[in-house]
């Protein structure tokens, strides 16, 4: 890692279904190029995609910060949006506030946050109704890297 912090930040536009998923593809591409274990990369891609899609489906805009730390990988997604009034309820599988037109596309199944939970070692959500949400995910690779 040459002592250099590996950090990236990508903008996510709300309601921009055209480009949805591109940020997570970038994250996946970077990890793949750095030689991380494919199963680990897929897990990160799922968590990143779900966080990205939450911004696209619910928020006005957001940013995905992605950092490779010595022991783990950290993804922080912050958005300007409606916020989550009841995080425990939102964590329940099957619970969704997505509108009908988004559900018709196959989103809003209420699996986003549970999928993030399953594919991360730490998931912290802080939200202010009417302002936005910050999702912090820590994912540890299966083996320590050189």
């Amino acid at each position: 890692m040459q002592g250099k912090a590996l950090e990236w930040a990508y903008e996510i536009e709300g309601k921009d279904f055209r480009n949805a998923g591109k940020v997570s593809s970038k994250v996946k591409e970077i990890l793949k190029e750095l030689g991380f274990d494919p199963a680990f990369v897929r897990g990160v891609a799922i968590a990143s995609y779900e966080a990205e899609m939450n911004v696209v489906c619910h928020a006005e805009k957001g940013t995905l910060h992605f950092a490779i730390l010595p022991e783990a990988l950290k993804i922080v997604v912050e958005d300007q949006g409606p916020g989550i009034p009841d995080i425990a309820l939102a964590m329940q599988e099957g619970y969704s506030t997505a509108p009908a037109e988004i559900r018709e596309m196959g989103f809003g199944a209420g699996m986003g946050l549970p999928n993030m939970k399953k594919n991360t070692d730490e998931l912290n959500i802080a939200s202010t109704v009417g302002k936005g949400t910050v999702v912090e995910m820590v994912i540890r690779p299966p083996l320590p890297r050189e």
Binding site: F17, R18, A20, I46
Partner: protein, 114 residues
């Protein structure tokens, strides 16, 4: 089984990424909920869905799926085709409904679980 064999056996129409058809299909998954596919599909799966919008390409790419079969005569949006070409994701179409095409895939040895 390779995608090319599936295309021949099941008379699928190729709509994108005709250079990626040499890929081996390891299994299959059928669902129209994208998060469900993200959570439960496996690398090398063929994915059967009726969703033809561009986001299916992102899911297939992120999950390393072998390709997408659009069932029930559904056609991909023009933008979906464009993104699929860029990402090299084969999109195949069939007039058959999901249940029927999945049954035929299974009969060809494409299973959902080991």
């Amino acid at each position: 089984m390779k995608l090319t064999e599936l295309i021949r056996e099941l008379a699928l129409t190729v709509r994108s990424a005709d250079k990626g058809l040499d890929r081996e299909v390891k299994g299959g998954y059928a669902s129209d909920l994208l998060s469900d596919v993200m959570a439960h599909s496996k690398e090398g799966d063929i994915w059967v869905t009726i969703q033809g919008h561009p986001n299916v390409v992102a899911v297939a790419t992120l999950r390393d799926l072998a390709g997408i079969i659009l069932a029930n005569g559904r056609q991909p949006d023009a933008e979906t085709v464009q993104r699929a070409e860029e990402e090299g994701v084969p999109i195949l179409c069939t007039p058959l409904p999901t249940y029927e095409i999945v049954g035929r895939l299974y009969r060809l040895g494409i299973h959902g679980q080991d």
